[in-house]
Homo-oligomer: 566 residues x 2
């Protein structure tokens, strides 16, 4: 998160100045002892599986999902609001756990800088979380690449399974932004150096292995998901799984420690489970299921987030994660910013810091669509305006007017600058709505049942979440759909891969586009993760580095103190 | 280590049955408190840099290097003897620290199984150490690959430094055995996807980044070594460094935690620093300098090992690591086995378990050469016969007779089966020789001074360590030598890349070959690490997987208990 709020202090300097509690003390606040934790240094811990098992009989707390309107390219501070809301609930005396995705090193070194909140609403230790943390992403990377190596070795050693080298769908992975690895040819150099074929690297967060990891209920479920993962097809088009290779044991062994949820704290010492980190465009975009479920057992309130806008993150949270994990979220917070409202009202990227009340009126339509989507899911919500220092009084008052006009519950948050204190209004709104709903009972449900056709599922999402007329399949996608149906994978939910900048599949269509069709270009079965990815455009699964990568700003002194990590 | 000693228990089951002490208690035995450690779970810790700094004024303990005769393809149990000797010294009441390389995951998943000793002479927790441990290898992998990505991105973004894409010497790395990545073409897919060029993956342990890491004195020295690392040449043949790319800060940041030495324990609770793991063929093959130096400050005796036979590991330990780190090793243990003696006496791989006294006589010549080499370095030694259950009384007595005949100090070790108790004889021998030498003073010195020519250095190693007539440079190596001289890198030591199975550069020449020449095929400057690698043959820097990879034996139950990891 770049510092748009205040030019005085960087996220890193605020995080470095924070006084952390030993993680065992943080754990105590949610009833855990030192024996429940595998500590990684003083301030990070992993929760043992035995502890998680021992919590099974407890009643779940309330689950709050933080999502957003369609973001600008700068991001709207969803993680920051998630953390600030958790801190605020804690300040109000409610036991709260925050669940977040763990950052990917690639973007940290590339464009984005850190991904652990911002300002006074951060999870700490910030450098650790943004760098190697407890090694989960590295374990996932290696697990992914051991499978690749075993596939190529299997072919090299005689190919008993008759894998077609042109039909290997499993890609290699790396947690580095590296465009040169998007399209490669491997196995060159003649006899003894493997079979030449085209291959691709994805960034680890975009890999199916990350999605599998993030949806696993426990170690055995992880191993089962890995075993069923389809990695290739034979010459006669039969799916080949990791189980066929006999590799699920080794791969699960590589992930056995990573799967334990990571416990850290916010600057205000609220416990935070930061675990799992699938991308929200080509995967389902939220932290691990095991962390969310553990949070629900440990606290009265669990605040979590899903990537990008509600059209991507929340839709998948409801239709995929909640379905697989049998979760019933209690309420959604929709993060909006004056900046994003102006952006969707037609203001160019460079003019976003100038006052423009009229644009807010137009841009509000984007927010309205997400409000309607929450109604479609039957889930109550609060809109949270995440305030920036550049917002003017007139702009904010226009926002408030519009909310009142459409009867939208909202709150203003100031969590970057004030931490939990800046989220009290939001927390109070959240609590009062949850209390009301508790009386009537939840009417939340996913938008489609598992048994309807994949085409129907895509249509339901396109119409009800994006506001499209419907979908159109490319000839390629048509053919893939038939193959998927033939393989009997129709019961799975759809994971839409779509631009985050628009409700449509065209990033230039800001606001609330109308009369558009969603173009499904291809379908990819992620059988291990348990969903079918529907691509609506070219989604990059391996980012590149910009002209001036963030890495070049970083430095370290002789004691290991880091500078230049934003 | 495969279990050749006993068929009853696997290394893993022995390790899993061991009762470990909390690592803070192990640390206490060498005067460290909980505050000196960053713990990773209960049984692993990293020692803080502040602690290491505070030890600076202490006198160094004695350094014992464990090396070996030329090994068979099965390995002769050097790590096992290192651990058993450390345990034995500890049993005799001498404060001892063991220093070992950390295992690479690639071979663990591939051929070799674990690399943490064997039987009752192991470092534990065995699974952790063999799998991700404290994440050092992953950090090194990412640090390596961030440099690669920055190089390709620099070219893609305009190539201000004028890097010649055909002259990029820095390769990508992965800690997986993966022959298909040895030779690849990257940057395919047209505009926006990087510049197409040939590239290669090395296994992390074979990367220069690993060598740099393992030779760094502290964080600032690490950053300096990274900055000076040559990664490519310009179109007009000028070296391009990581410093030229401006990336040394970010790369050092990625390694700042990894560089802290890892503390674990043996089954008998002897403290062990397991840190850094460069290969011994194309790199210098011993644990990190910072771990060795820390061991010397913490204990009266530090027992460490260097990879493969004395012609590779010990030579590099003396000429490279001891030179760079200003170490004065006190004594060398040369590990021999009846199996290796027979192998060098001409017995085929399949007949090695059959008694063959005559072969031992012939094979003894191989051991004799290493004894002479120790004399050339002016370092006292003990030969340790690492006993296997298949060894017969007559074979062992032949070995003893030969040692007596040539006046070679020796001891029989039984550490796999008996732990430290099986190393008492060796420990007593070691102590008595060190005590004798202490009176006369050390006459250890590297075989050549820094200022002699690179050609002279190679000749000195070939003649004095291998017993060759001298070296012969290929035309390619001749040209590279001139380039290296022109760049002014002549003061660096040589790192020989040679087969471990023979004193010569031909793996088939067993025993003590005579009248041979060492063929230098090419030279590669590793400026960051601080040596020039001289290749005497095709050394694979990326291993492949065998027909039945070790990974396929591994499994895990629902509680994360691992099976099939040897």
């Amino acid at each position: 998160m770049q510092n748009e709020y205040s030019k005085i202090q960087s996220d890193l300097s605020i995080a470095q100045a924070a006084k952390l509690l030993p993680i065992t003390e943080v754990a105590e606040t949610i009833g855990l002892t030192a024996d429940d934790l595998e500590t990684y240094g003083k301030y990070k811990g992993k929760i043992h599986f035995g502890t998680i098992k021992s919590l099974e009989s407890r009643t779940d707390g309330k689950l709050i999902l933080v999502t957003a309107m369609n973001p600008t390219p700068f991001g709207e501070g969803k993680s920051t609001v998630t953390i600030g809301l958790g801190d605020a609930l804690n300040r109000l005396g409610h036991q709260t756990v925050i669940c977040l995705r763990e950052p990917s090193l690639g973007p940290v070194m590339g464009m984005k800088g850190g991904a652990a909140g911002g300002g006074y609403a951060q999870v700490v230790p910030m450098e650790d979380i943004n760098l190697h943390f407890t090694g989960d992403l590295h374990a996932i990377t290696v697990a992914n690449n051991v499978i690749s190596s075993l596939i190529d070795n299997h072919i090299h050693q005689g190919n008993a399974l008759q894998i077609d080298p042109e039909r290997i769908t499993w890609k290699r992975a790396m947690d580095v932004n590296d465009r040169s690895l998007r399209n490669i040819v491997i196995g060159l150099g003649g006899k003894g150096n493997g079979v030449p074929r085209e291959d691709h690297f994805e960034i680890t967060a975009a890999s199916e292995m990350m999605a599998i990891f993030s949806l696993a209920e426990d170690l055995l479920d992880l191993k089962e998901k890995i075993a069923r993962t389809v990695v290739a097809y034979t010459y006669d088009l039969k799916p080949v799984t990791v189980g066929d290779l006999g590799a699920e044991g080794a791969v699960a062994v590589l992930l056995k420690d990573a799967l334990k949820p990571n416990l850290v704290q916010t600057i205000e010492h609220t416990p935070a489970l930061v675990h799992g980190g699938p991308f929200a465009n080509i995967a389902h975009g939220c932290n691990s299921l095991i962390a969310t479920k553990t949070g629900l057992k440990l606290a009265d309130y669990t605040v979590t987030e899903a990537g990008f806008g509600a059209d991507l993150g929340a839709e998948k949270f409801f239709n995929i994660k909640s379905r697989i994990g049998q979760l019933t979220p209690a309420l959604t917070v929709i993060v909006a910013t004056i900046r994003a409202l102006k952006f969707h009202g037609g203001v160019g990227k460079r003019e976003l810091s100038e006052e423009n009340v009229e644009a807010i009126k137009n841009g509000f339509q984007n927010l309205m669509k997400h409000v309607e989507t929450m109604n479609a899911f039957g889930i109550p919500f609060v809109v949270s305006l995440n305030r920036f220092v550049t917002d003017t009084e007139r702009e904010i008052s226009e926002f408030e007017k519009l909310c009142s006009k459409f009867n939208i519950p909202f709150a203003i948050t100031d969590v970057w600058e004030k931490g939990g204190a800046g989220g009290i209004q939001l927390a109070e709104r959240v609590l009062s709505i949850i209390n009301q709903v508790e009386k009537t009972g939840s009417s939340f449900q996913p938008l489609y049942p598992s048994h309807v056709s994949l085409e129907d599922k895509m249509n339901i999402i396109a119409k009800n979440v994006y506001g499209a007329k419907g979908i159109e399949l490319s000839p390629k996608a048509e053919k893939q759909l038939r193959d998927i149906e033939q393989n009997g994978w129709t019961n799975l939910p759809i994971c839409m891969a779509k631009t985050q900048y628009s409700l449509s599949d065209d990033p230039k269509k800001i606001g609330r586009p109308k009369d558009f069709t969603i173009h499904i270009r291809q379908l990819k079965p992620s059988i291990g993760a348990g969903f079918i990815v529907a691509y609506t455009g070219d989604i990059l699964t391996m980012p590149g580095l910009p002209k001036h990568p963030a890495a070049l700003n970083m430095n370290m002194d002789g004691d290991g103190k880091v500078t230049g990590l934003f």
